[in-house]
């Protein structure tokens, strides 16, 4: 997966004493805790966000099996034949919340053309926070709670939002890391929807849509 390689450049976990002046009663100790220096190394992992990859360059997306809010298993492979927007997000992620209304709109506009959004919530608290958030926002697409395993399967998802566009054959056509432009998603989705699914022009397949709080 082409992605921006994010890493902590420096994190010292143990205390070291530096030369601060002691002005308080007792001994003043200054501790260098951690230097959070998060850099984006362009290196060999760059992201194309403005277009989908050529078909020959697409790799098959990893399959997964995660639970939706009702405990039903959601598998990516169940969506073969549909174009899927797979969004890794979290309730504490501000940029993610900008994109969610776009995805709700995409779901409404394109679900009858063989398109689906799946939101993978990466909140440690799971459904305790995701369910009320989804109900409050009226999220109309399928949500699952993710984990470290799925993040690793998809190349090490660390930054949120990270959004994949997956074609009807289950291959990753594009990756968007961070807040992207709505038009970038729209163009990619429309391009992928042009390709009919095998045996069915619209790519429809029977996938139960269990929603948390659709409006």
């Amino acid at each position: 997966m082409e992605a921006c390689n994010l890493q902590f450049l420096d994190s010292r976990l143990f205390a070291s004493i530096r030369g601060y002046n002691c002005v308080m009663r007792g001994l003043c100790v200054s501790v260098v805790l951690a230097v959070l220096s998060i850099g984006c190394s362009s290196g060999s992992r760059t992201v194309k966000t403005a277009s989908v990859k050529a078909n020959k360059d697409r790799k098959v997306a990893p399959d997964f099996a995660l639970q939706d809010v009702n405990g039903h298993t959601v598998k990516l492979s169940d969506y073969r034949g549909k174009v899927v927007l797979l969004d890794f997000w979290a309730t504490w992620c501000g940029p993610c919340k900008i994109e969610i209304p776009w995805f709700q709109e995409f779901e409404r506009q394109n679900k009858d053309r063989g398109f689906a959004v799946i939101g993978v919530a990466m909140d440690d608290e799971g459904w305790d926070v995701v369910k009320p958030f989804a109900q409050e926002r009226g999220i109309n697409y399928r949500l699952v709670v993710g984990n470290d395993s799925i993040a690793q399967q998809f190349g090490g998802v660390d930054a949120l939002p990270t959004t994949f566009l997956i074609d009807r054959e289950g291959k990753i056509a594009s990756v968007h890391i961070g807040l992207s432009g709505k038009r970038d998603f729209e163009d990619g989705i429309q391009e992928l929807l042009q390709t009919p699914g095998a045996g069915n022009a619209s790519g429809n397949s029977s996938v139960p849509a269990v929603l948390v709080g659709a409006k």
Binding site: L27, V29, A34
Partner: protein, 123 residues
């Protein structure tokens, strides 16, 4: 570091964030946001207070209408410990954890916890 029984000890944690990044302050404006939090397992010392600097409000590309309460750049968190008068003298390790959640203008990173260990000689 050394502390006499019956006195106070002050520890300053210096945090340095890379340019363009911020962490939520200890008092974010929204309930969904993960606050900066410093906790200690202070035994044999006692925590008297943990003082954060004053945060500032910033608007970001992803939050143009609602300012976030954040820390950026370099800042210090000050903890005051009490050294109980009846505690045993000798070496001790005071363990702490700093939990933070960082973002830049377009993306956010999962919350992380950094461990801190302060060696103390109780006199």
């Amino acid at each position: 570091m050394a502390g006499k029984r019956g006195t106070e000890l002050t520890a300053k944690l210096a945090v340095s964030l890379g340019e363009g990044y911020h962490v939520n302050s200890n008092t974010p404006h929204e309930a969904y946001l993960i606050p900066l939090k410093l906790t200690w397992t202070p035994a044999p010392l006692e925590v008297a207070s943990v003082t954060f600097p004053k945060p500032h409000d910033e608007k970001y590309q992803f939050s143009p209408d609602q300012a976030l309460s954040v820390f950026t750049g370099n800042f210090e968190i000050v903890t005051k410990f009490k050294v109980p008068a009846d505690t045993t003298s000798g070496p001790a390790i005071i363990a702490g954890k700093l939990r933070y959640q960082a973002c830049n203008n377009t993306m956010c990173f999962p919350p992380k916890t950094v461990e801190v260990k302060l060696p103390v000689e109780i006199q």
